[in-house]
Symmetry: D2
Subunit: 345 residues, 4 copies
Amino acid sequence: MIIVLKPNPTPAQIRHVVERIEELGFVPHLSQGVSRTIIGVIGDEEKLQMEPLQAIDGVETVVPILKPFKLASREFHAEDSIFDIKGVKVGGGHLMMIAGPCAIESESRLFEIAESVKEAGANVLRGGAFKPRTSPYSFQGMGEDGLKILQAAGEEFAMPVVTEVMDPRQVDLVVRYTDMIQIGARNMQNFDLLKEVGRTRTPVLLKRGMSATVKDLLMSAEYVLAQGNREVILCERGVRSFEDSTRNMMDISSVPNVKGQSHLPMIVDPSHATGRPDLIPAMARAGLAAGADGVHIEVHSCPEKALSDGPQALLPAQYLHLMHELRGLADLMGRSIDSCEGVPA
Amino acid sequence: MIIVLKPNPTPAQIRHVVERIEELGFVPHLSQGVSRTIIGVIGDEEKLQMEPLQAIDGVETVVPILKPFKLASREFHAEDSIFDIKGVKVGGGHLMMIAGPCAIESESRLFEIAESVKEAGANVLRGGAFKPRTSPYSFQGMGEDGLKILQAAGEEFAMPVVTEVMDPRQVDLVVRYTDMIQIGARNMQNFDLLKEVGRTRTPVLLKRGMSATVKDLLMSAEYVLAQGNREVILCERGVRSFEDSTRNMMDISSVPNVKGQSHLPMIVDPSHATGRPDLIPAMARAGLAAGADGVHIEVHSCPEKALSDGPQALLPAQYLHLMHELRGLADLMGRSIDSCEGVPA
Amino acid sequence: MIIVLKPNPTPAQIRHVVERIEELGFVPHLSQGVSRTIIGVIGDEEKLQMEPLQAIDGVETVVPILKPFKLASREFHAEDSIFDIKGVKVGGGHLMMIAGPCAIESESRLFEIAESVKEAGANVLRGGAFKPRTSPYSFQGMGEDGLKILQAAGEEFAMPVVTEVMDPRQVDLVVRYTDMIQIGARNMQNFDLLKEVGRTRTPVLLKRGMSATVKDLLMSAEYVLAQGNREVILCERGVRSFEDSTRNMMDISSVPNVKGQSHLPMIVDPSHATGRPDLIPAMARAGLAAGADGVHIEVHSCPEKALSDGPQALLPAQYLHLMHELRGLADLMGRSIDSCEGVPA
Amino acid sequence: MIIVLKPNPTPAQIRHVVERIEELGFVPHLSQGVSRTIIGVIGDEEKLQMEPLQAIDGVETVVPILKPFKLASREFHAEDSIFDIKGVKVGGGHLMMIAGPCAIESESRLFEIAESVKEAGANVLRGGAFKPRTSPYSFQGMGEDGLKILQAAGEEFAMPVVTEVMDPRQVDLVVRYTDMIQIGARNMQNFDLLKEVGRTRTPVLLKRGMSATVKDLLMSAEYVLAQGNREVILCERGVRSFEDSTRNMMDISSVPNVKGQSHLPMIVDPSHATGRPDLIPAMARAGLAAGADGVHIEVHSCPEKALSDGPQALLPAQYLHLMHELRGLADLMGRSIDSCEGVPA
């Protein structure tokens, strides 16, 4: 950590900073230049980062050197982590292809969609039972009844299932029915929820918040990991921007950016990132080409009657075509798409 | 609601849209021009907004006409709402001046700070017992012990108290000790938490999310109001932006923007918006000048040893000076700052 | 165009809007609902968009229906435009691979770099002679001497050359030496410069501004096209965002977004978009996978001594490796990379 | 400047960095810790900032210590600069109240508006003769004819006049007719234009770019100052953001932020920042309360027929009312609004 003092500090100010650092158990290294005085502090930066050194009189800025996350970092675990979700591997060259409707609406609808995405090559089924809706008057999800339908569909079509959890009180319920639990973008910094899913041993799909930096995302993963749940899969799903012709702005550079610093798998969600079916296929291809460990796509057999996010869903035929393209790209890049039985699809 | 079709729609596409609208119980008004076909649907827009009309084949875009919130709107309640928090009024010309430390650290520290802000003219005391920290390794708050200290300080210095709640399971606990509950920026779209505080009858201080639009903020207020809790005070605390010299970007225009559409009081929080003590006083003045119903400021008697957000806290002497300026501004604008006893300070 | 009136308009307000529209030569279509009154105006929207109808008393909002650009649109020219820059085609399946140093520094340096990128498969050489630098104290470019070196290198290695022009007064000079002229991000809305390059018949590489929407970019292309220069190639180079670990945020979705609306070719520039050599290869692949018509990369043989933007340059060996990957991707997608002689590289 | 090396650097990497710094004429200070090696370089940072040290193998990041601007800084000139524009002072407690139409449309219209804003207390008249319009098909301004009308109006109503210049070739023409020249947001980094106005001795009103940081703005001011023109007035006019209910987001914190670092005066432009007449008055008050040295407002006597930006103009009566409020605020804050004759209005 480097502490930069304001121009022309008084001897008393310098002495106070030095004493405060010594009081905290560190050895300060003082460098006095013509225009600036700098104090270097090398040691257990984690402990130092907790201290409000910037609030000390005479301090201009504090520059951290080390990353604030640990369990999520490549320094902690150099190789790509590979997780196995009921036979479907993700990470280290294994792609997770998640598909399904935004919300679970009925057994017949979900089974119909599940059958089509399975045939197209998806290896994880998604569906929301608890929906975070901007309006309190919108459909809020089927709750436990939806979870039962999702579990049944997963068994029928031999796919692990993933669903979102929004409330710490629902975590126990949700893990009983699903193979992976999703933390949505709006809850990426819902720290109590992160701790609660961290206490389970169910893999977590953690979506990037709408205004979260890459560092924020990794810090939220750290919350889950610190509780003992080591299986976190990250997901880029677009961030808020000034561009008004897409729902969000998909920051695909976050994929190599995260993977350079962390061993955790990272997938992309072009459905939420763009909100536009005409852009989803190109963004799915771009995600894989950038090194993503999978793609999350919303598929609905009748978008115009969907109870949630219909306008951004692909039709089954569109998804089938896209998966054909993505398999070609995966082959070129030496990646495999496992099916639930562990056999390459 | 206006449905704009893509160029050169087929008669079948037009017929399908018209039939879908009729099926939903509405009467479509068709206007066919040279370059575009438009279908107007006037009726219960709330119900229509739930429908994914944009997913219908041939539809280019759907333009809503009405606002999606209702209980929060001026159409529902034309006059400024005025709430009374244990004798301290807010809204309709009454200013709520909230001050206190980021986190409750000990009884002696909180009492020391509370005394100083009371003397300076603050009329609500704040202090965090449950802290949303980016890092799982940072101080997470004192919990219930902190709440007891906060309640005691409120009684000692005759100030209503406010504290943040982050978990739906803590709501019952928190309302036992406090006069107002804060929903922080990271939880503005934690819908289960919003519903839970909506079920209480304790006033809610709802902070704008880091990437929330003004409409999003009002929709989150609607979640609380829809549960029957009518006392929601909004708070601008800055949004994420590309400007890297301040912690957030304070969107002061949100104050007149919200107040033009809603009857709810709205205050500003320049501490979190800027993260810089050198900018806080100017932003506090700007907020009042823009019409805010109060100012939320973090104050600490020893920022360099604060357990949370020390670098952005004002010292008691700085707060005293700022309150002097703010009172002058309040007088000029015909606003009053009530004290807990209901007597103008 | 749709004009939405404020709630409960007076008959006089409605009459005034109707009269104003008729005065402008259009026929208004009035729809009065319970909660809102809407006036549809179908006709020459281009002319209507010039009128400040939103300023009329009683008008809440004006919703345009048609796109504001014309010559750049697919409605005007349905097929992908293909341009030929001295034998190198771009658009319609032909990829333009631009490479070279940020700034021209000396003949020996540029020739060395040109040779290496030519061998790697680049088909256009870049180099800046006039540099837009944030600081007035930074190296500002070699000017005309640089242009001469660039032209010579293009001839020596049989590559068309591109360089940036920043000042309308330099346009005549620059077109004498180069085969394509670049308008940089900072000048995307320098309308006098756009008009000036529009008057030439030299192809224009137009980079997206740091806070320009996709529509803004197409409007700037329209400025050039409207002057008679029909050869505009667009370039995504990242936009400003809150993410602080990359120089900009690369909005790759702009590629399919633009190409859906416009016949113009569009390439990507991952060098400026990320500012980080470790992310450039992944973003170049992502760009091609998303459908870009080429990739623009900065290459320098000694980045640590570069006079401009050294830290974001790839080394020749890195570029060689990247081009190998990109050729594989181009093959998979059925795209060709022409060399100057028109023979696929 | 501090150079942070990547983890576990090789001795050769460390030696190479050290040699490179010595080669540049500086003395490196090496600090080797357990987890990181840091090299401090104290000296002429301006020269160092030109060097791409970050591109050296083994370097993780380079942390600058000093600000990159000089002439614009408080270190260079500690007191607030006060400029005199034909008798109207700005800075150091003197407020510049600029008002007028977006575009000059005719002599009668401009004179009508000028008379009204003069009576309301404005002390500078604005009007655009060259207009930066997003669409090439929009009204582009009256050019020199407009300048003549503006000059005549300034003389008739005893107000200095300001107009925008967009093209370096127009600078000589514009300075003949006006008392202050405006650089618009879109040209804030049009460096050739900045140099050209820097060569004149006419005061420059420099508006912040839509995605410019505070540092970028000050660097652009430095371009003008470095050419010898010492009279630069800065202007906050809003930046691009995700908020879609206002034209831009007004970053009022930039006012104290800039004024803390720079001696230059800074005003606010709530007209462009919000684009909404209902928000302009609140934002004008907020700007003054935050310490701005003036307010720039667009006023039009018939917004619905304005040739440019009509929907955001205030009516003369609205401006009169606003100026009444602003004078009250100015009095409270001990600021004066001079009229052209130098007499407080």
